[in-house]
């Protein structure tokens, strides 16, 4: 169970997150949509303190912190309960695919190297990259790098995996393979919070779609409801624009 209460983030005078309340059940798959620059990525980055939020509470599992008083230890604990998939993959360039996945197990969870590498091998197999275990990121395609990124997030055994526009930097030809891996995870009921512009993914996979605008959650609901009968004018206008280029059904 994850709960955000009144989460606030400002950059200078600008309020990026204007009091976000959100609770996520275990196993729930949530897709966040909305215009660019409305704080979707910032929301994810605040949840694991890659950005320091300016107010509110974050609860993940049995750990609940007031963000303005979070200690180093609590921040570390929050990060260990979340995992993150980055838009630009952010693989460790000096490590092979296998070691990218094994790194956290060794350094964070204190696993012995052979066990960690064995587990990393299993995870690479699940994302279909067994044959690339010893390849360095520079030699992998965008789609392959992102699948390694997902395997690295899976290794963390986090309560929730946060996906920050995981397919936005990909050439169209690689998008499907990455979405495929994410759908597989969704079938296994891995709790996921996904920021994406892939409306068909939202329709097929999400339990709940959240529409954000100007740092707030404007409306939310099951994809069938949100896509067919949006209530707010901003949601309608956003969906009109997006669905003109990609139809969700």
């Amino acid at each position: 169970m994850i709960a955000l209460q009144g989460l606030i983030k400002r950059f200078g005078d600008e309020t990026i997150l204007d009091g976000i309340d959100l609770s996520i059940e275990q196993g729930e798959i949530i897709v966040v949509i909305g215009p660019s620059g409305t704080g979707k990525s910032t929301l994810l980055r605040c949840m694991n303190f890659l950005e320091q939020p300016d107010g509110g509470r974050i609860q993940i599992g049995d750990l609940s912190v007031d963000v303005t008083q979070a200690s180093r230890k609590e921040i570390l604990a929050l990060r260990r309960r979340t995992a993150f998939v980055f838009q630009n993959y952010a693989l460790f360039a000096n490590k092979t695919a296998l070691d990218n996945v094994a790194e956290g197990l060794i350094v964070v969870n204190g696993w012995k190297k052979p066990q960690a590498r064995e587990r990393a091998g299993e995870l690479l197999e699940r994302v279909g990259l067994s044959d690339k275990a010893n390849a360095y990121p520079a030699s992998l395609s965008g789609g392959q790098q992102q699948r390694v990124g997902i395997a690295r997030a899976m290794a963390a055994q986090a309560e929730v995996i946060l996906f920050d526009e995981p397919t936005s930097s990909l050439d169209p030809e690689w998008v499907e393979e990455v979405l495929g891996v994410m759908k597989q995870l969704a079938r296994e009921r891995q709790t996921m919070l996904v920021v994406t512009h892939e409306m068909s993914f939202a329709r097929d996979v999400a339990d709940r779609v959240i529409f954000m605008s100007d740092g707030r959650i404007v409306e939310q609901g099951p994809p069938s409801q949100l896509f067919s009968t949006p209530q707010d004018e901003r949601t309608k206008s956003f969906l009109r624009k997006v669905l003109a280029t990609q139809a969700p059904w």
């Binding site: 890659l50 993150f84 360039a93 000096n94 030699s139």
Partner: protein
């Protein structure tokens, strides 16, 4: 014009080479210490640790802003006057100290630039899986920054080897000091100094070759 006294040079070479170890020892000691100091200062600068950051800036400003020779004289002749414990300081120690402080100031800045140049999102990624800042530095950022910094650092090392010749002004009989003595005895200044120049040049070329093979190895992960 007199002919070059090749026989004298051939006889001189082994004598000069016997002083090469001292030169290399001073350079190696200076390099190791300077690297450690430079890494510490670079991390202080990157993390902007309050207090230490300002101190580091002052240090770098001073040691980059004054000639190495002045710094060496300051340590060797100047400091003992202030601190009696340092009256025992010998030329070799003073040289190593001077080289360390002087070159660490330059190296700190290039290491800092290398660290800052590593894609910020990799740091985010390491933090996101729960690594601490220290672990992130040690395991992700520094190994990659090393690769970026190696060419520049090797240049400083080469510079440092040549700078050890200043130790002769502190009365240390190293490669340069020995050459000076030999030349003064034989009056064959050109032969003596061209010999020592060839030795420095040879050492530097050897290092440049090592640098190339090191870079090839460090670049392994970045081949497409």
């Amino acid at each position: 014009m007199n002919a070059l006294d090749i026989d004298y040079m051939l006889g001189l070479m082994p004598i000069l080479l016997s002083y090469l170890p001292l030169t290399l020892e001073m350079a190696a000691a200076g390099m190791v210490l300077a690297l450690i100091l430079a890494c510490l200062m670079a991390v202080v600068r990157v993390l902007k640790i309050p207090g230490l950051n300002a101190l580091t800036l002052l240090f770098i400003s001073f040691f980059r802003g004054t000639p190495l020779l002045v710094q060496l004289f300051l340590f060797y002749y100047g400091l003992p006057q202030l601190m009696s414990a340092l009256t025992q300081i010998n030329g070799v120690t003073a040289t190593i100290m001077g080289l360390t402080l002087h070159f660490s100031a330059y190296m700190a800045e290039s290491i800092r630039a290398a660290i800052v140049g590593i894609d910020r999102s990799q740091t985010d990624a390491a933090l996101s899986i729960g690594m601490t800042r220290g672990q992130t530095m040690r395991r992700v950022v520094l190994p990659q920054a090393t690769r970026v910094a190696v060419p520049t650092l090797m240049n400083y090392f080469i510079d440092m080897i040549k700078a050890t010749s200043l130790a002769f002004t502190l009365g240390v009989t190293e490669l340069m000091g020995a050459t000076q003595k030999e030349a003064a005895g034989s009056f064959l200044y050109f032969e003596a100094f061209i010999s020592v120049a060839l030795i420095y040049w040879g050492v530097v070329e050897l290092l440049a070759w090592l640098q190339r093979s090191l870079e090839t190895r460090l670049n392994k992960a970045y081949q497409r």
